[in-house]
Subunit: 330 residues, 2 copies
Amino acid sequence: MRERKVKAGDAFAAALRSGDRRALARAITLVESTRIRDRDAAEILLAALLPNTGRAIRLGISGAPGAGKSTFIEAFGTYLTGLGRRVAVLAVDPSSRRSGGSILGDKTRMEKLARDPLAFIRPSPSGATLGGVARRTREALLLVEAAGYDTVMVETVGVGQSETAVADMVDVFVLLVSPGGGDDLQGIKRGVMEMADMVLVTKADGDLATAANRAASDYQAALHLMRPKYSGLSPNVLKVSAVAGHGVAEAWSAMTAFHQDLAATGHLNALREDQARRWFWSEIQAVLNDEIVADPHMAAKAAGLEASVVQGRALPHAAARALIRDFRRA
Amino acid sequence: MRERKVKAGDAFAAALRSGDRRALARAITLVESTRIRDRDAAEILLAALLPNTGRAIRLGISGAPGAGKSTFIEAFGTYLTGLGRRVAVLAVDPSSRRSGGSILGDKTRMEKLARDPLAFIRPSPSGATLGGVARRTREALLLVEAAGYDTVMVETVGVGQSETAVADMVDVFVLLVSPGGGDDLQGIKRGVMEMADMVLVTKADGDLATAANRAASDYQAALHLMRPKYSGLSPNVLKVSAVAGHGVAEAWSAMTAFHQDLAATGHLNALREDQARRWFWSEIQAVLNDEIVADPHMAAKAAGLEASVVQGRALPHAAARALIRDFRRA
């Protein structure tokens, strides 16, 4: 049985490696499934593909709503496929629901890129928790790499904690900001500024050209006040206009230069190792939760203990020990 | 054996309930201990005291380094003991080490309050992780309540993520800010502003009086732009001068009024229930980690799997499943 599964998995993996888009889409659906049988198949597939992963440049694209993320990704992705690169766009949006008007949901936000044979766009997996969404996007990232996409963009929704999750799965974290009023700096979460490897001031054209200049120097000044993420590698601030097509090539040059510097200094290797380590420990916790929820006895026990804690009849630590004791014996 | 322990625990609990400071200090040392035997004793003690907890007003005191937290706590605590209240001061400082110049470490920062018979000051537990420090401070908070302290302040170190941990164990989260230049708003992490139930502009005296006025209106304006934490309850911005003694009584009035509003609207009950629920689930993860680390077989297995993941030979999810499978069988 297991052998038959492995065989079918081999054919599936081979199709995916050859760049078969349907196989890729089906594989992502498989890793997003919460059914136990699908999960087993997903693991066999991922294990087979693991040697084919890790070769893309992984870019995080973040920015508050309205910063121009989709417009930039459309222009930037099209520029890259024009260079012959294969571009995959993924997203982390914990608020998305399959049924709703999800980010990237219908690909209408990136019409041109969605029709581009060298590009692959996948909406955010749905899920109630950021952790769940991030887990699946990480695996989708490995799948698109195995399918030969050499440039992966992971887009954040720009609210909540999704930036941290995305920063923890990419090589270069890019923050997009629009030239607003003088107060735009305050609209950015400080923690996000600290994560940025590069800031792109969008909409740097027409009426907003002057405001974009000012925003660029404001961000440059603000970044100088912060401790650099990597010693000797300070973040660039660049202006782009997706509409006029300005700055897109320069942004790509800056990203590849930064990525090469990361690799040359050993930072890239250390970064990916740290990401893998943190991913492993967060999976341990996620698997524990999954198994508690999936086991009726454990789920009932957890619910009962939780109620005791909430009602002030038991202490969290003692209740947690009781649950783990039961879990070990079950 | 267990019965004897319970008996000794009863006497200990009774001493603590009577307000015996030595018993309280010893109990906190017990909950901070990582020895398994101490942990068992701590749990028996905490369980015995649980009915005596929950009656204090729990205040979080946060602010960037230099905001004047110690000076405020000294003046504010002394004011409260003057009203006959019993005041406990705890801290969450993940960077503290017993040996180092820890925050609150030698109580020299709050000399007067440290000598006050109605006050109890306890430095932050030491610990490598924020999670570990926060766990112990939560339990210390229950102990000081059982010992009859009716006002508990939990101070944050003002850097990193300690604010979130403190906000998750108190009723009213107070942010202290000093009247700096025009750019002080940007020094505050946006997430921390969003947590604040009240902002106190410190050092509102002498040369800084004008700057304090401006800072107060800046923060008032900034808070208006944010979605309120509780509908119908917007955060106050007040000015205080610990040196001149101004605003301290007003700050206390505002805190008690806010606390009463929280209680009357049902928010306080819901808040404490949510906190207990989150505490329970974080304890489940912490206990799992503790048990993995404490068991040589599991620790070796975890280290081996982690290495496979980091070296790209195994996938985090599969490795985590293997570890949990082993953990359940062990």
